[in-house]
């Protein structure tokens, strides 16, 4: 399956911040490098790379690649929020 531009750029951000290769399935629980410090780094880096700003309350709910992707507004991203 081809990655679209947004996904590809977002993966780029994730890999730069987490400092290792990641897949679209990466999430906060499964990735040991994704601690609270890196979490804020991800938030800041995604905000710098995309026209998006996260609210204080939603920051702790961004727990996976897909959460970020959905919030950025990619129409192909399946929702992970229940």
């Amino acid at each position: 399956m081809q990655l679209n531009d947004v996904e590809s750029r977002l993966l780029d951000v994730f890999e730069a911040i987490l400092e290792h290769p990641v897949s679209r399935e990466v999430n906060r629980q499964s990735d040991g490098a994704w601690d609270s410090l890196r979490h804020m780094q991800l938030v800041f880096a995604v905000e710098a790379a995309f026209p998006v700003q996260f609210g204080e309350e939603e920051i702790p709910r961004l727990n996976s690649f897909r959460d970020f992707l959905e919030r950025i507004g990619d129409p192909n991203a399946p929702s992970t929020h229940q």
Partner: protein
């Protein structure tokens, strides 16, 4: 391990990312160095999180060749420092959010409390102390700066300019809950830039002593001597010239390294009255068609400084790589096509920025010009001794040199050639000599009719019983070459033992990378070979030096 030339090329590319007004967050995160960095231990005493800055600003530390190991105490509003007691560090960092004391009550004085905390930290550590306080308001910085006043080796960072630049973006209150600090992402990045490229190198060195700049496409657009095009000075170049002049005023020496004909270059500076930089502003030049590595070496020889004290600036990455590969330790800066890029790189070139301008900094360029004049006149006279007399050399030995503490520390830290024990004393370590009743310190000031060289020497030690143990002797390279070492050290020793019966004067020595001149002096003085490290009794040899034989006026200030 990357070769020096490759490192210079990589750093030239990094400049484009690191020194943007607003650095690209992602590009910054992707910068991974491949060169060795200097390891150091930094104790972080904090009441808000420092870790986000480390993570955000890694690339800046690596660009400055620093690999700090940050050791953290717990969050502590009382700043007790207990956790660090007994563990040596290269730097003590106080990272304080002063808003946490806003409700401390009317009796609480931030300045008085902080002064007591600094005194407590100084009592347990001789390492330099760096204070970074938020919010960046004068109401916070001023009492803290006042609290630090007079304490050796304490520096309080000024964040006003950064706060003005960032405005509301300085803080990001959303993040405070998760990162433990209210500082915004960009503030963290830019603070890391200040810390890595300015504050820490200015405290721990090594400092840049000279900036060697290329001409064509660096100080102006175009190529000198080309019939078409010519030389264009843009507004950005004017600003670059002014920044270099500012560096010169702060004690850095300027040098020219250019592939051109010297006659053309002199003509250029004579004719172009719009150049803020003048020919006379350059303390050394290497102009010709040879390779620039040899030019930079010649500059180092001419200025009598180490090659690692030179920042070489050139628009041609190939030249940067060549010079870096052939001149060990030299630092490089890529002059960008847009001079504002060069300016940004120069403003943050590690080792260039200073906490303050010292008296010696102000004297340096004039003193160097005077030294040239001395050498020129000396060659022209038949009787060198008569010439030395005509200079009216004045040596002033001060045995209470506490006001010169910063300069004495600088001499201990920076002097390589005439440095006997290579102890590299910090300000706080030096201060201990002043506080110890048995401590003995002398400063040596040198002047003649051509220039005032300022304080050029330090002799520090302790009295033990009837013996004087000299633990640190350093003389600036600017005072060497005039045959005055014997009289300087005889006068300093005599001043230190005045008023008591001294049996022995033990001089500590240690082999350093470049201190052969000092060791040779000690061997010649005592007539004995030296071990790699140890101490020798030089009391009788120093006592035999007949100061009256020297055409020098010696003044001892008690």
């Amino acid at each position: 391990m990357a070769a020096s030339g490759d490192v210079a090329l990589e750093k030239a590319e990094w400049q484009d990312i690191l020194f943007q007004a607003v650095p690209d967050r992602l590009a910054l995160a992707k910068l991974k160095p491949k060169w060795p960095c200097r390891e150091m231990v930094v104790h972080v005493h904090r009441n808000h999180a420092f870790e986000p800055l480390v993570l955000a600003g890694q690339a800046y530390f690596r660009y400055a060749d620093l690999a700090p190991r940050f050791l953290y105490g717990g969050y502590d509003d009382s700043f007790t420092f207990d956790w660090a007691k007994g563990h040596p560090a290269d730097l003590e960092l106080i990272w304080i959010d002063a808003r946490r004391y806003a409700e401390a009550g009317a009796d609480f004085s931030l300045g008085e409390w902080f002064r007591a905390r600094l005194v407590a930290l100084r009592a347990q550590s001789a390492a330099p102390i760096l204070v970074v306080a938020i919010p960046p308001a004068p109401a916070v910085r001023e009492p803290l700066a006042l609290a630090a006043h007079g304490l050796a080796g304490v520096h309080v960072a000024e964040l006003g300019e950064l706060a003005q630049q960032l405005g509301e973006r300085f803080n990001d209150l959303r993040a405070a809950r998760y990162t433990g600090t209210c500082l915004g992402d960009l503030a963290l990045i830019l603070l890391a830039r200040e810390m890595a490229c300015r504050w820490i190198p200015a405290v721990l060195g090594p400092r840049v002593k000279a900036i060697a700049v290329d001409l064509d496409h660096t100080l102006y657009d175009g190529v000198l001597g080309e019939e078409r095009g010519g030389v264009h000075l843009t507004a950005g170049h004017v600003e670059l010239h002014r920044q270099l002049l500012h560096c010169r005023k702060n004690g850095l020496l300027l040098a020219l390294v250019s592939r051109n004909e010297e006659i053309d270059v002199r003509g250029l500076f004579r004719l172009r009255r719009d150049f803020p930089l003048r020919w006379a502003d350059f303390s050394a030049t290497a102009i010709g068609w040879g390779d620039k590595a040899e030019g930079v070496r010649a500059i180092a020889r001419d200025l009598n400084i180490g090659m690692d004290a030179i920042l070489f600036v050139d628009d041609n990455p190939g030249e940067l790589a060549l010079v870096a590969a052939r001149v060990p330790g030299v630092r490089t800066l890529h002059a960008k096509a847009d001079p504002r890029g060069t300016l940004a790189g120069l403003a943050h070139a590690p080792g260039v920025w200073r906490w303050e301008r010292s008296e010696t900094d102000a004297l340096r360029a004039a003193d160097l010009a005077a030294e040239r004049e001395r050498k020129r006149q000396q060659l022209a006279v038949a009787d060198p001794e008569a010439y030395l007399r005509s200079l009216h050399v004045h040596l002033q030995v001060d045995v209470r040199p506490r006001p010169h503490l910063k300069r004495l520390q600088e001499l201990s830290q920076k002097t390589n050639q005439f440095n006997l024990a290579m102890r590299r004393l910090t300000e706080a370590e030096l201060e201990r000599y002043f506080l110890d009743p048995d401590g003995r310190v002398a400063s040596i000031r040198l002047s003649d009719r051509l220039s005032d060289s300022g304080v050029v020497g330090i002799v520090a030690g302790r009295r033990r019983g009837n013996d004087l143990f000299l633990e640190e002797i350093a003389i600036s390279c600017r005072a060497l070459g005039r045959g005055l070492e014997d009289v300087m050290l005889a006068a300093a020793t005599q001043a230190l033992v005045r008023g008591w019966e001294c049996s022995r004067v033990m001089i500590a020595h240690r082999t350093g990378p470049r201190n052969a001149p000092a060791r040779n002096w000690l061997m010649r003085l005592t007539g004995e070979p030296l071990e790699a490290e140890g101490q020798v009794d030089a009391g009788s040899a120093l006592g035999r030096i007949d100061m009256a034989q020297y055409p020098v006026r010696v003044e001892i200030c008690n």
